[in-house]
Symmetry: C2
Subunit: 247 residues, 2 copies
Amino acid sequence: MPRYKLTIEYDGTDFVGWQRQDNGPSVQGAIEAAFKKYCQADITLFVAGRTDAGVHALGQVAHADIPRDDRPEVVANALNAHLRPKPIAIISAERVGEDFHARFSAIERAYEYRIINRKAPLVLDRNRAWAIHHPIDAAAMHDGAQALVGHHDFTSFRAAECQADSPMRTIDEITVTREADHVVMRVRARSFLHHQVRNIIGTLKLCGEGKWTRADVAAALAAKDRSKAGQTAPACGLYLVAVKYPA
Amino acid sequence: MPRYKLTIEYDGTDFVGWQRQDNGPSVQGAIEAAFKKYCQADITLFVAGRTDAGVHALGQVAHADIPRDDRPEVVANALNAHLRPKPIAIISAERVGEDFHARFSAIERAYEYRIINRKAPLVLDRNRAWAIHHPIDAAAMHDGAQALVGHHDFTSFRAAECQADSPMRTIDEITVTREADHVVMRVRARSFLHHQVRNIIGTLKLCGEGKWTRADVAAALAAKDRSKAGQTAPACGLYLVAVKYPA
């Protein structure tokens, strides 16, 4: 059966997360239901990054083998028609070989974490960013973040329920920038641990508040103890932006 | 009574517009109701720009005279508390003199019109941008827009129901730029006619599609005839970004 790679955008607010679950609507479940209407068959999706409840995606990637040999645009249009009005869109579809696997072939994942730093409650960015109402210093957050770049044991930034075999990960780049009241962290790695990005931004917030320095972030990392790092930031500020594959 | 200037953000999607009306919830009505709870008095708001149903604001400005002499932060916090969970926020409040008038003192209004130019339906930008699914050329739109800069009779870009005395307006600047699939028009003028920005972007779309040149835009302007310009673009892409007052 032909294999298709899908690039997917979704608003994670009203989903229990990517993964099909018994306790509510999932992004995977919605797209598989659209496939069922389109192909009259049960299709299983394989995904690059299983996002949690409330986490958004601009460029999630999944693949599926389907019993039809349609042009990729036809696949995307059919799925989008069946997905409507759910807040999920297939941005593009592509025919790929049998050796392509959305999760195992990925060589880089890029996430963004968005903070709105202002006194007023959020309106246009409600459910789309973390509202921090007291002033935070983005440059201090950027500086603190540099302690995490490279190959490290990220036990201090890993959820208790993380299922990865190893806590070792390599962060290629983290930047924190401010434009007016928008503070954005961008982070790239081959792969991430469960809650790693949200635990990182929750820790960098301490730097932004002037409570921690870069040395404190390095010490939290070295401690290999989740209780030594900062809080888990809310899901709503997190976006899976892109997944990269070998050319 | 002390006069306060309010800077306001709102998501216009579920409102009949800024102005209080009998046919549904308005932004003005919601803020006046919040004032009533806060001041136990009927307060009337005066606004810089009466936005239509579905139009958003990042920096709308209004003023009100109120029978309390509170610090501006207290006013903003009280209104925000009473507005919750409506998608309206008071970004800031400021004490101003009796000679300040949100509408008549304004010397510049800045609007943004956001287009998402891609095949896929909108998700994170649903109700927040105009979805144009075929390719449009932002550089051609920018070029066409330059025919409108300056002091002109904008009859061709004015809604039939426009109540302004004169169709003469001065556009200080229009730019159209693209970043990936986001095409944004930014326009500044002392004031605008009813539907002027939406009629301009609806016309520039013809340039973006290669159907019109800058000379066609100039001819439509010179015709002083609404039927010679392009369509009225959807409200959901329009944002009142800022209103400027003398220092």
